[in-house]
Symmetry: C2
Subunit: 432 residues, 2 copies
């Protein structure tokens, strides 16, 4: 049974706070292992990458077959049935369209003093995209990482994906092709992140690394941050469904299970304003679990990390929603009510409005990104987007007249800070 | 003497690459010390913060005087002379105006399928701003951190600043007042970063931490990343001046020294297309050093980390400029030429155009931010801005009809990925 809380009950604050404080990450001391791997890849390059890959993923790896050739990729991609190919292409087009709308606009203006001020966005030269291998190899994640990089204008997109047993995943290869990866390497883990960050004899380094991975990949990304840029550190998936009693309990049960089925450490939370409806959803979850392929994973997640929170009304749900700051928030109610409620939510990775917007639509074809902040990171971070593949350069241009207007204040502040050469670089130009 | 390189000489690539590879950071094993401090602050809260502060900054610290009261702050701020007060206010207004122009626009549209898609920017609830203490306590940095947070709409801005010997810096206190800090605490180092990230009995945690600091502060920010958001990790300052022979060598010398005077590990590089002019600048640097207050620091930086690079023409300078990816790039030439060259630069924190735009203008009053990427981070990062204090939430709303249009592709992809509940959450709503 998932945890059950009642927002109106005495002691709720304390129980809810304990629930929030639960740590679903299993970090432990991967940090030490990862530090060793990163240092080794920096020192030995390809040889180290091959050694770790042989140990963890595939004994057949060599320096020569480390890169997946375009031919191998196409051969694998051709195995994908037409319906899936069409669905992937459809998804890629929608992701591209939405991310084009996210492109920031350059700023460039001349102010009243005659000083030109600007901010200019340019893509990083090269981006590395980490794609998990094995059972968690999701073609949709390939699109979600590569398409925004492409929209941003990144010139070189390098994908890494471990291939356990040497087998290529046709869907992942097709997604790489559709999205436009420039290079694909069959490597993963901390060794792949280190190779992307520092480069090896055969892999040229990149400037930014994105993409989800296990605890080792996350620790490696954190470690190479500074050498390269990284995106957010993804933790276990989460969904928070706020649902009124007019929903079909079965629909809501499927929504809760859609994140629970990712991983036993995923988290699904239902906020309901009606106890009988909440009970009906809990029963529907059990029924769904009877036929679900990934019932074992989903069931464990629901029992160990799930929660049902009863509220007197949805206004009372707002502080709870913001405190959880979930990756996905579903507002399953009449659209007008969902819209009004969504306006008041401060922290969420993505919000899905109304009765006909299951979160899974956002995982695949809505067009929005499914790489979203987890573990309360929505308090300070949004999902992956074009901005992750762009950087801003400031521009300043003074005329002799505008320097005369700005200069005296600059000199006064440089003096106040005791930075003589700062002041002099300005005052010399003002003829002082 | 600074390093001297000639881009036309044989062996340039190798020498330049060695120059780029030089590590000016002195990280060593601060990581281990910082891990201990962060863990201790998490465990013991205020008591740990007081202990470390007493040890490193001021023996007089107690839990009761840890927060600087508004009265203390005003009393210190009142000591600032009128001219400096005016200069700070002038700077704050210009920084505010420029950062308002950087505010991202929300996206919200309904596409051809009838699906509403959106991206909404909201401020973080609370931001922590780290301000270094002692000699490097710069009021301008207080403005550069707090004003963008204010423009973004952050409700609670918490400033921390170590006060060696217990003394408040009047200019820093005034800057905090002008910019609008909500709380100011006299703490610093890794202990202050840990207190901001995790909270203590008296300090409520924040969601984002920005601001420069020494190696301990940088290591602490890296360590708490994930618990809170952080801005870029600031390293030693850099300036790259591209100057033709029509410049006054004295002006260019002052520009080079304006970053050299920050720290012995700062880096100033001159790219010139004329050897006689480069020689004149090198001589002018020596002359300037004779009277500069911070000559010892600036001289050490120039000798140990400075460089003069001769190029046949400025087109040949472009790959060098991009490879250095400097924090500050000055294009000291006719404005039209500077504008044309700036368009071709891919990697720079900020570009200063023409003969009358010394970099120091950007440090104080241009309005652009002076917290900028160092150590080649301009390859993947811009400077501090309003975006650092905002986060994006995606919005998706389907109608029954638009779900019918999107749903089949979502189900196909969910099936392909073996995620049954994902597919079911969609197909149930399509009546399947």
């Amino acid at each position: 049974m998932p945890l059950r809380l009642d927002a109106s009950a005495p002691g709720f604050e304390k129980e809810f706070s304990a629930f929030l404080g639960r740590n679903r990450d299993t970090d432990e001391n991967v940090d030490r292992v990862v530090a060793g791997i990163v240092a080794d890849v920096r020192a030995r390059g390809d040889a180290a990458v091959v050694d770790y890959t042989a140990k963890f993923d595939w004994a057949g790896i060599t320096v020569d077959n480390m890169r997946i050739s375009d031919g191998e990729r196409s051969a694998a991609a051709e195995k994908v049935p037409a319906a899936q190919r069409e669905a992937l292409t459809f998804a890629a087009r929608r992701i591209e369209a939405f991310h084009r709308a996210l492109m920031p606009k350059d700023v460039d203006f001349t102010d009243a003093t005659g000083t030109r001020l600007g901010a200019r966005y340019r893509p990083v030269d090269a981006a590395g995209v980490y794609v998990p291998g094995g059972t968690a190899a999701y073609p949709s994640s390939v699109l979600m990482n590569i398409v925004p990089a492409k929209v941003a204008g990144v010139g070189r997109i390098v994908m890494v994906v471990p291939t356990p047993g040497g087998t290529l995943n046709p869907l992942v290869m097709l997604a790489a092709e559709i999205a436009g990866a420039d290079e694909v390497w069959r490597i993963g883990g901390a060794q792949a992140v280190a190779a992307l960050a520092y480069g090896t004899q055969s892999i040229k380094p990149v400037d930014k690394i994105t993409g989800p991975g296990n605890a080792y990949v996350a620790a490696a990304k954190r470690r190479v941050f500074g050498q390269v840029g990284i995106d957010l550190i993804a933790g276990p998936s989460e969904i928070l469904v706020v649902a009124d009693r007019h929903n079909d309990p079965q629909w809501i049960a499927a929504d809760l299970l859609s994140q629970a089925e990712h991983d036993p450490s995923s988290q699904s939370v239902l906020i309901a304003d009606n106890a009988a409806f909440a009970d009906a959803v809990v029963r529907a979850v059990e029924v769904e679990l009877e036929t679900l392929d990934r019932a074992e994973i989903a069931g464990a997640s629901w029992r160990d990390n799930g929660a049902v929170i009863l509220v007197p009304d949805f206004a009372a749900a707002l502080p709870i929603v913001d405190a959880i700051a979930a990756e996905h928030v579903e507002l399953a109610m009449e659209m007008a009510e969902a819209e009004a409620l969504s306006e008041k939510i401060r922290h969420a990775g993505a919000i899905f409005l109304g009765r006909h917007t299951p979160e899974a639509i956002g995982d695949y074809v809505a067009g929005t990104n499914h790489v979203l902040p987890t573990s309360r990171a929505a308090r300070f971070s949004g999902g992956l987007g074009v901005a992750d593949f762009l950087k801003r350069t400031s521009l300043v241009a003074c005329t002799p007249q505008s320097l005369a207007a700005l200069g005296p204040s600059a000199v006064a502040l440089a003096d106040a800070e005791g930075l003589g050469a700062h002041g002099r670089s300005v005052s010399l130009r003002m003829g002082r």
